[in-house]
């Protein structure tokens, strides 16, 4: 089989920027989403998709990379950035009723959104969101969509109708193989993400972004959000920030002072 054009969905989450202090707010202890950005780890997913489609002649040859996000109105920024980097089109799932969705409710809505795109060859996600960090969504999406699951890929190849990935664990490095369609999550070892360039920023303005609500997806408000979620956060406490302790400058005996410190702490 030759390498025909691919239809790929890339999941891009809009997350609070970790360079700033991040906070939980409200009675439900949800994450404050001001100062947010496209999740750094999803840039690897987007790069994986673009590398595959570039190798097949890009958009001109009929390849499609849809950047999909689920989040508030402001999350459109994650889609826009993805279009600037090179995605072909965007899909934004947004609805007030989605606020407070856990992994189960989020994966339910994301699966419904992916189904609106018709048959796709690949769904590519990041290895974890940089806010929730559960790594649940990729596996739940694969289960809900009935797709082969190739997760934590540090290498990814598609040849004809076959996808192969390398998964590096602590005890083993595994080679995984499946027929398309499939879901892949990629790690930060998989590639080197590209940046948007001037041409990409201009081109993005003409690209299509579709915004869909729960009703468009045929989902009831009660199936998602706090009501449709299967977990709750009952309490949250901010940890006192770490503060600097004793800082010394080596004047020849710092190694010995280090041992004194360890001895005082009863660590040797």
């Amino acid at each position: 089989m030759e390498n025909s054009a691919l239809n790929i969905v890339v999941l891009v989450k809009y997350v609070p920027d970790a360079q700033f202090d991040r906070h939980l707010t409200g009675d439900a202890h949800t994450i404050d989403r001001s100062e947010s950005i496209l999740s750094e780890l999803d840039e690897y997913a987007l790069e994986a998709a673009l590398a595959l489609t570039d190798a097949r002649g890009g958009a001109k040859a009929g390849n499609v990379v849809t950047a999909l996000t689920l989040g508030p109105a402001s999350a459109a920024a994650a889609v826009k950035k993805s279009l600037q980097i090179g995605a072909t089109q965007g899909l934004h799932v947004t609805d007030d009723a989605l606020a407070g969705s856990d992994a189960s409710a989020t994966s339910l809505a994301l699966a419904a959104a992916i189904k609106t795109l018709g048959p796709v060859d690949l769904v590519i996600t990041g290895m974890a969101s940089t806010d929730g960090e559960t790594s649940l969504i990729p596996a739940q999406l694969a289960a809900r969509l009935g797709l082969a699951q190739l997760t934590f890929a540090s290498e990814l190849e598609v040849e004809g109708g076959t996808v192969t990935a390398r998964r590096d664990g602590d005890d083993y490095s595994e080679e995984i193989e499946a027929s398309l369609p499939a879901l892949v999550s990629v790690t930060d070892q998989a590639n080197e993400p590209r940046y948007p360039n001037f041409k990409g920023i201009i081109a993005a303005k003409k690209k299509k972004v579709t915004t869909v609500s729960l009703a468009d997806l045929g989902l009831a408000a009660s199936a998602v959000g706090a009501e449709g979620s299967l977990t709750t956060v009952s309490a949250a406490a901010e940890r006192p920030a770490r503060t600097a302790g004793t800082i010394i400058t080596d004047s020849g005996d710092a190694g010995i002072q280090l041992v004194d410190f360890l001895a005082a702490q009863k660590l040797i």
Binding site: I137, E238, G245, I248, D250
Partner: protein, 322 residues
């Protein structure tokens, strides 16, 4: 008492319980009737160990698919066994595979899933998972609102303890009905990774971690680690450069660790590195740049050249012990 399922993987090292599983069984026994769900053989040695933890019921499957395909068949086993024993909770370890088994079993059982629990307590009939979020800046308590709770639990969430009285478990072989898509991602090759011979990062009381400042040679870090009986960690700059295995990486995309002592050497302290180590009890930093952000979170910081300071400390420890 309700059944609490603990997932046990016996495909790789049959006959031996991992230390984490002992901890999960201890948690399960505290909250209900522990039921072991085993992928692989239920050997006599394994059954004796499970009995010692108070496990009266074992469900297992030796179907070849469990090892031939990635994760999904194991999740089918867990979900179907949990349904068969009407479990109120499922506990799995917090490895990438453990979390993914939890994810898929959650979908199959329509159950809430909580990952990265550092402790599990029992509150009026429900399990409460305690975890730290946003790179350790908050601790939260979460619980499932569904009939079944699925929780992946980090190592050392509890001290493993044997039951007051050992029991002889009843063993049932189960025949898992695999979903077609569960048999879609085939594992075609497995290459074992070389063991370092040092403590595992997750188990270590002390970690000595090195970064780009090591400039290609991890010997000073390894020598200090060895005199302290410590594990060796690294920044991504050091693992990306190939100076040390990627399995040693600490941080956002590496291991998240909370040892008694973390000695950071030649690491600047980027946000992604801090995300994996700032819940350590004590942090010591050695860096030649006084402006490095690592000093903002160090309990004891030394501004200086690691190539002088580390060997001197190693000599001093040996001298004091002689």
């Amino acid at each position: 008492m309700t059944a609490i399922v603990v997932y046990i993987d016996q495909l790789d090292a049959p006959g031996k319980l991992s230390t984490t599983v002992g901890q999960l069984l201890t948690l399960a026994r505290g909250a209900g009737e522990p039921v072991a769900v085993v992928a692989g053989p239920a050997s006599a040695a394994l059954l004796a160990e499970l009995g010692a933890y108070g496990v009266a019921r074992v469900l297992h499957s030796e179907q070849a698919e469990l090892g031939e395909y990635l994760v999904a068949p194991k999740a089918d086993l867990v979900a179907q066994a949990a349904a068969a024993v009407s479990a109120s909770a499922v506990l799995v370890d917090n490895s990438p595979a453990g979390k993914e088994i939890a994810a898929r079993a959650g979908v199959a059982l329509n159950a809430g899933v909580i990952t990265d629990a550092v402790a599990v307590t029992y509150d009026g009939g429900t399990l409460v998972a305690h975890k730290s979020v946003l790179a350790g800046s908050y601790t939260v308590q979460a619980r499932a609102t569904s009939a079944v709770a699925v929780i992946s639990v980090k190592a050392h969430s509890v001290e493993a303890s044997l039951a007051a009285e050992a029991v002889i478990p009843a063993v049932e072989a189960v025949e898992v009905a695999f979903a077609p898509a569960s048999l879609a991602a085939r594992v075609t090759k497995r290459t074992p990774r070389a063991a370092s011979g040092r403590p595992e990062l997750e188990d270590a009381r002390i970690i000595v971690a090195g970064g780009r400042g090591l400039d290609g040679d991890f010997t000073p870090v390894e020598e200090l680690a060895d005199v302290l009986g410590a594990a060796v960690g690294a920044s991504r700059a050091a693992t990306d450069a190939g100076w040390i295995s990627h399995a040693s990486q600490v941080g956002q995309t590496g291991k998240k660790v909370s040892p008694q002592l973390y000695i950071s050497v030649g690491i600047s302290g980027a946000i992604q590195q801090k995300a994996g180590m700032q819940t350590s009890k004590l942090i010591v930093a050695v860096n030649k740049d006084a402006e490095s952000p690592i000093f903002e979170i160090a309990d004891f910081g030394i501004v200086g050249d690691l190539f002088k300071i580390l060997p001197q400390a190693v000599e001093e420890i040996k001298k004091r012990r002689a």
